[in-house]
């Protein structure tokens, strides 16, 4: 259900870009999705197929997903480390004064028309 909501947003944005560029058929939509964005790529592509095929502009259009790695920054020792591997606690110094640098994005990178 969560992924379906995201799909509706993607469709809304792609339709707008298509209108601005006078495009009547989109072949591929490329997404950058962070490792810790809570989006499940398989669900997203399933929802995409169902919803996109209802739109003339997007019938048969492929949704391509690039997964971007999540990185966390430690304020105490200044190191960066993989969020998916180590979570909130810094593996270098044990501090939990850390914050996510990137890896929770859900971005439309580009469309191929």
């Amino acid at each position: 259900m969560h992924e379906l909501g995201i799909v509706f947003y993607i469709i809304r944005d792609v339709k707008e870009v298509a209108r601005e560029n006078n495009v009547d058929k989109v072949k591929t939509v490329v997404m950058d999705i962070g490792e810790v964005s809570t989006i499940i790529p398989d669900y997203l592509t399933d929802c995409w197929r169902w919803a996109a095929d209802k739109e003339d502009l997007l019938r048969g259009c492929e949704l391509k997903i690039n997964t971007t790695p999540a990185m966390t920054y430690c304020e105490d020792c200044g190191n960066e480390y993989s969020t998916a591997q180590h979570g909130k606690k810094c593996p270098h110094c044990g501090s939990d004064r850390t914050y996510l640098l990137r890896g929770n994005e859900v971005e439309i990178k580009e469309i191929i028309v």
């Binding site: 259900m1 969560h2 379906l4 909501g5 995201i6 947003y9 993607i10 809304r12 944005d13 792609v14 870009v17 560029n21 495009v23 072949k27 809570t38 909130k88 939990d96 994005e105 859900v106 971005e107 439309i108 990178k109 580009e110 469309i111 191929i112 028309v113």
Partner: protein, 222 residues
């Protein structure tokens, strides 16, 4: 051969909703309406907590409620019957959350003249509602004792965006392995600024503290 062209977009899918939400927040501020977005998992006691809170505040504030669910109108009727205030039901048509546009539609259906506090009871879910800004002034969420103290670890985003976390069903604590101290620590790990208030919506214990929190927040926001 067809000509292939790449159009770069590089735009977060949440961006358009965030813009809508900021606009709505501004409009509500101009009208003097404080919007509280209340979230939790299903069955944690959102509606019961609201009834208690509204009954404590309805002489001080003019309140209106929007109940969001996938289906049925039991919650809106329950609120109206138990408090006498204006309450409407929003149906999300299968969607697991409300966004700013849906919230705006709900507000448009309310009689807002003189209203100081609008409360949005979001769809019961700890994941999606946290990702979609509704244009609210403050976010509140309820975690009930039977759900377990570890939820801030499992649903980090929800707890990181909440201004207040109500720990509900304190009366059943003896029957569950729930460590309030640990839970508070986990909440603060996600969001050091979140206020944690233990309550029991059934008996009313602690609900006055939440009502006071709301009054203070509205006062500060004005």
């Amino acid at each position: 051969m067809d000509e292939v062209k790449v159009i770069e977009i590089k735009k977060s899918v949440f961006e358009s909703n965030e813009k809508d939400a900021d606009n709505l927040r501004k409009e509500l501020k101009d009208k003097g309406i404080f919007l509280l977005n209340l979230m939790s998992s299903p069955g944690s006691g959102k509606t019961t907590t609201l009834i208690r809170t509204i009954n404590l505040l309805k002489d001080k504030l003019r309140i209106a409620v929007m109940e969001a669910d996938i289906d049925s109108d039991v919650d809106a009727i329950k609120i109206k019957d138990a408090t006498g205030i204006q309450s409407i039901q929003l149906h999300t048509g299968g969607m697991c959350h409300l966004d700013a546009e849906m919230t705006r539609q709900g507000l448009d259906a309310l009689e807002l003249e003189g209203v100081d506090l609008a409360i949005l009871e979001n769809v019961g879910n700890l994941i999606c509602p946290a990702e979609f800004d509704t244009g609210n002034s403050k976010n509140a969420m309820i975690l009930s004792v039977p759900e377990g103290e570890d939820k801030p670890l499992k649903y980090p985003l929800m707890f990181s965006i909440c201004d207040v976390v109500l720990i509900n069903k304190m009366d059943v604590m003896p029957y569950f392995d729930f460590n309030l101290e640990k839970c508070t620590e986990y909440v603060h790990m996600r969001n050091p600024k979140a206020k944690v208030i233990p309550i029991c919506a059934k008996t009313g214990e602690g609900v006055d503290k939440f009502a006071q929190w709301l009054l203070d927040e509205i006062e500060n926001w004005k």
